[in-house]
């Protein structure tokens, strides 16, 4: 009920356009594992065995009389020295995750599925026994039941026995295979045990409760390899992903989002189809820090605008004031000079020239010129203040001396004549430029008019013309692009041609065929010859400029078309660019929604889509991940049909294909295996596939069940190694039993 109540909420979220986000958590330390306080119940009881499911994913420890293991923790140990305190810490299991120091120092006891680091193993055992509360002197005083991998190498078992018997003085040890214990717990007698766990997948046929070891097979694929596979895929899918991705996060991604496809090829083919991608695409949000852009209220914005206007006005006022002052100054100056001129008329020539000299003028002409200039500038600024746009009329200067012959001039006159000549040339040049500009303006106006006319009269023709122009430009740009990519390939024709041209230019004797008798080098006679240098340049700046020009031209054309062509819309613009709606790569990377790289949240998202079925699929097709082995279906059929000669037994085995181990917990695993096996086994084979009640814990439970029922019985004696036997027969010694490995 609670579930249905929450469903509408998620529905509305999806209709609003936001997709459900899945978050990853920082690897966290959950606190200390509780210590058992009830050891008094078990003290001194030799019928209470300590059962340890020694797996590479988790170590599970408990009493054989318990229903479930008491301790579950990863088989890791972190031993590191704190320099400040000068002491060494030993942290086992989850405790190793307590902080980043201890996390980086953590070591795993396992190499794939075999114990390789016995220092870690010893710490794990210490930790387990401490947590069980064992306080016996001189040995733990309880039999030990330990799971091991299929065909555990002798060296590993030997070292383990040495450790348990000599360091912990165990009275007896029973070794067994985890998956067979699980099968035993689930009441299996004859069948095929398919155990797919953290580091490997094992297939062991069982006949009359005894594992047929000669047919046992291992596929080197399990959960840890799947996590590694996903890690590689994601690293390639999102190179330069901004957040750090931790191993536990990847593990949780595999566990939570991956499932086994029923029809892999069919499902995969349609996986990235846009319409329904939202249902399959899982968005994983990684933690990120939002770069906060200050959001201003309407009021604030208005205030800011007002302030800006105000300051602009003030500036304008200031400028006007300054202009006014300048104008005043100029007017004063003008009045003074005019006064000077007036005064000069009444004064003697000598006095007048002295007065002029005092004010820095050489003669009256200069003064008059100055007055004229001042008048002009005053008029101009007045007009500006009043807002009158006055077309400045350059008065045609007169060059009177030019018409006078040199003979009639003195030296000074000749100088002035030369100056006037220059002035005249300048003036004429200016005039010419102005005329040209006018002409150009007129031409453009006419052109625009003509086009306007053409557009109004013959819209269709205009449109088709513009469209073809646009297409031509696009094609040209594309060609350029293609050439560029071709040049990046050393073996392409374009590259070869370029190298040829370079070699030809560099050689002293051009091999060009020359006509007889015409032996001179004519390079450069034709201007096009120089184009060769442009062609061989690796990075062509000119071309890049041209590209840019073409781009702007294209933009202009598109703007025109947008304005006037009724059929030309934003969409037809996008059709040319990559539209994410049609992009498979976009679907793969960013799901069924547009992606905004500026959005920090979206930049820190990963989309799991094809990976959800691609990762677990490897167990059916190991080649996908570079494992050169047959998949589980092929192994099973090969084993059952070709290697099992007894057809009666074979049929019995069909009836009970038993799945255990964490990998079999992927949704759809059992179903898929059933259909796959049905299709390859003989017609109407009585096939039955089932999964363990608890694929993860049943190995421990089976080991506990077996030891609880058999301890003290002959069966126990026939399977477990006692301390006396160890002392007598050596550390290599094992006893073969139904659920254990065989001597090798």
């Amino acid at each position: 009920m609670a579930l249905t109540a929450t469903e509408p909420a998620t529905d509305s979220a999806s209709s609003n356009g936001s997709q459900k986000l899945y978050h990853v958590l920082e690897p966290k330390f959950n606190g200390e594992l509780p210590q058992s306080t009830d050891y008094a119940k078990f003290k001194g009881r030799s019928d209470a065995a300590i059962v340890i499911d020694n797996g590479s994913w988790n170590t599970r420890v408990g009493w054989s009389t318990d229903a479930a293991p008491r301790l579950t923790f990863p088989p890791i140990c972190s031993r590191y020295r704190d320099r400040k305190l000068g002491r060494t810490f030993t942290l086992v299991g989850y405790d190793a995750y307590a902080d980043s120091n201890s996390r980086t120092a953590a070591k795993n006891a396992f190499d794939i599925d075999v114990i390789s680091n016995f220092d870690v193993m010893e710490n794990i055992l210490d930790y387990s026994f401490l947590k069980l509360g064992i306080d016996n002197e001189n040995g733990i005083g309880h039999p030990i039941v330990l799971t091991e991998t299929l065909c555990n190498p002798n060296y590993t078992r030997k070292t383990m026995s040495e450790l348990l018997f000599e360091a912990y003085n165990a009275p007896s040890i029973l070794y067994g295979i985890d998956s067979l214990f699980s099968y035993h717990y689930n009441g299996g007698m004859t069948g095929l045990v398919l155990s797919s766990s953290n580091s490997t997948t094992h297939l062991i046929p069982v006949v009359n409760s005894k594992g047929v070891m000669s047919m046992a097979t291992r596929l080197n694929w399990g959960g840890s390899q799947a996590v590694e596979f996903l890690t590689k895929l994601l690293a390639l899918k999102y190179p330069g992903f901004p957040s750090k991705v931790y191993q536990p996060q990847l593990e949780s991604l595999v566990q939570e989002h991956c499932y086994v496809a029923q029809e892999y090829k069919a499902e995969m083919s349609g996986y990235l189809e846009m319409g329904s991608l939202d249902d399959r695409d899982r968005v994983i949000q990684f933690p990120y820090t939002e770069i906060i852009k200050e959001q201003k209220t309407e009021e604030e914005l208005a205030k800011i605008a007002e302030r800006r206007k105000e300051s602009g006005r003030r500036l304008q006022e200031q400028a006007a004031k300054m202009r006014l002052e300048k104008l005043k100054k100029k007017e004063e100056e003008l009045a003074y000079y005019q006064h000077l001129l007036e005064k000069g008329k009444n004064e003697t020539k000598k006095n007048y020239s002295r007065m002029l000299e005092n004010d820095g003028f050489r003669d009256e002409g200069q003064l008059e010129k100055r007055i004229k200039e001042l008048e002009k500038s005053i008029r101009r600024s007045r007009n500006k203040d009043l807002g009158i746009e006055e077309e400045e009329e350059e008065e045609v200067p007169s060059f009177p001396l030019l018409d006078v012959a040199d003979e009639n001039l003195d030296e000074d006159g000749i100088k002035q004549k030369r100056a006037q000549k220059l002035l005249k040339a300048n003036y004429e040049a200016r005039q010419r430029v102005r005329a040209e500009k006018e002409k150009e303006r007129e031409r453009l106006r006419l052109e625009a008019e003509k086009e306007e006319e053409r557009r109004t009269n013959d819209l269709e023709g205009w449109i088709s013309e513009k469209r073809s122009m646009r297409e031509g430009l696009l094609a040209k740009l594309k060609e350029r692009e293609q050439k560029k990519t071709q040049l990046s390939d050393r073996k392409s024709l374009a590259s070869l041609n370029r190298m040829k041209a370079i070699a030809h230019l560099a050689s002293d004797e051009p091999t060009r065929k020359r006509r007889r008798g015409n032996d001179e080098d004519t390079f450069g006679a034709d201007d096009d010859d120089w184009a060769i240098y442009r062609d061989i340049a690796a990075v062509n700046e000119e071309e890049e400029e041209e590209d840019e020009e073409m781009q702007t031209e294209l933009k202009n054309l598109e703007a025109q078309l947008l304005r006037h062509d009724p059929d030309f819309t934003e969409e037809s613009l996008q059709a040319n660019k990559s539209d994410w709606r049609n992009s498979l790569i976009h679907a793969f990377l960013r799901g069924a929604r547009p992606f905004d790289p500026e959005n920090q949240a979206e930049a820190n998202q990963m989309h799991l889509n094809v990976e959800r079925i691609r990762v677990p699929e490897v167990i059916f097709e190991p080649n996908m991940a570079g494992v050169d082995q047959a998949g589980i279906v092929e192994i099973t059929t090969e084993m059952l049909l070709n290697r099992f000669t007894d057809s009666k037994q074979r049929e019995m085995i069909y009836r009970d294909v038993f799945l255990t181990g964490g990998y079999t917990m992927f949704q759809g695993f059992e179903e898929r295996l059933r259909t796959a096996l049905t299709s390859v086994l003989p017609f109407e084979s009585p096939l039955a596939v089932r999964t363990a009640k608890d694929p993860v814990l049943d190995a421990w439970k089976g080991a506990a069940l077996w030891s609880k029922t058999n301890i003290g019985q002959p069966a126990w004696k026939g399977a477990a190694i006692s301390k006396a036997e160890y002392a007598e027969k050596g550390s290599d010694y094992i006893k073969e039993h139904n659920l254990g490995n065989v001597m090798s």
Binding site: D82, L85, F89, T90, L91, V92, A98, D99, D111, V114, S116, F118, D119, D126, F129, L130, I134, N136, G139, G141, T149, C151, P153, N154, Y155, T156, T159, E162, A167, Y168, N169, S214, A216, T217, L219, F229, L236, P239, K265, M268, S269, Y271, T485, D489, L584, I585, V610, E611, R614, E621, A625, G626, V627, D628, Q629, A630, E634, I635, E638, V742
Partner: protein, 172 residues
């Protein structure tokens, strides 16, 4: 308490270095160099097996002539010196005489697939069914859009893609 010292305090409560372990033998000393990775363990297993077979053959087939007899005095140090060829021939003989060797960690590996139909061709980038192979990078791809991406891949990235399915060429 200063926040920086909290982890240490936590570690002190979690630490098992100095805890009393009465159940543990006081005289126990682990053997030197007991930690071996899987590869080391397996090579040793192979060597020991081959040595024992050669030794047994030296007893029974000393005069068959297809194998140079090994003096018994040399057998003690044989495990270290047995050549790869000797080991191989010994293992071969074993499988011929016994029919099926006992299962060991090394020989229970599943065989490569015999059905080429079982391994499909999948796009190296997107995982979709792929019908094409880029002759330059040898990457499989599903359509021209993916191909465009492949052409734009940086140096060495295509090798990383190939490495995912173990198809990259490793130069030694």
């Amino acid at each position: 308490m200063a926040p920086s010292s909290t982890p240490t305090v936590l570690h002190e409560t979690l630490d098992i270095t100095n805890l009393e372990k009465p159940f543990k033998s006081a005289t126990w000393k682990p053997a030197a160099r007991r930690n071996k990775n899987l590869k080391q363990v397996l090579t040793e297993v192979n060597r020991a097996q081959a040595a024992s077979i050669i030794a047994s053959q030296a007893h029974t087939e000393a005069n068959t002539g297809d194998n140079t007899p090994i003096p018994e005095s040399a057998l003690a140090g044989l495990s270290a010196r047995a050549t790869a060829a000797q080991q191989a021939s010994a293992l071969q003989k074993l499988s011929l005489s016994v029919g099926q060797p006992a299962p060991t960690y090394g020989n229970i590996d599943a065989a490569p697939s015999l059905h080429p139909a079982n391994s499909g061709h999948w796009c190296d980038l997107t995982g979709l069914p792929a019908s094409y192979v880029d002759p330059k990078t040898k990457l499989r791809y599903t359509n021209k859009e993916v191909y465009a991406v492949i052409r734009g891949l940086g140096q060495g990235v295509s090798d990383q893609y190939l490495a995912v399915r173990g198809a990259n060429v490793i130069l030694k």
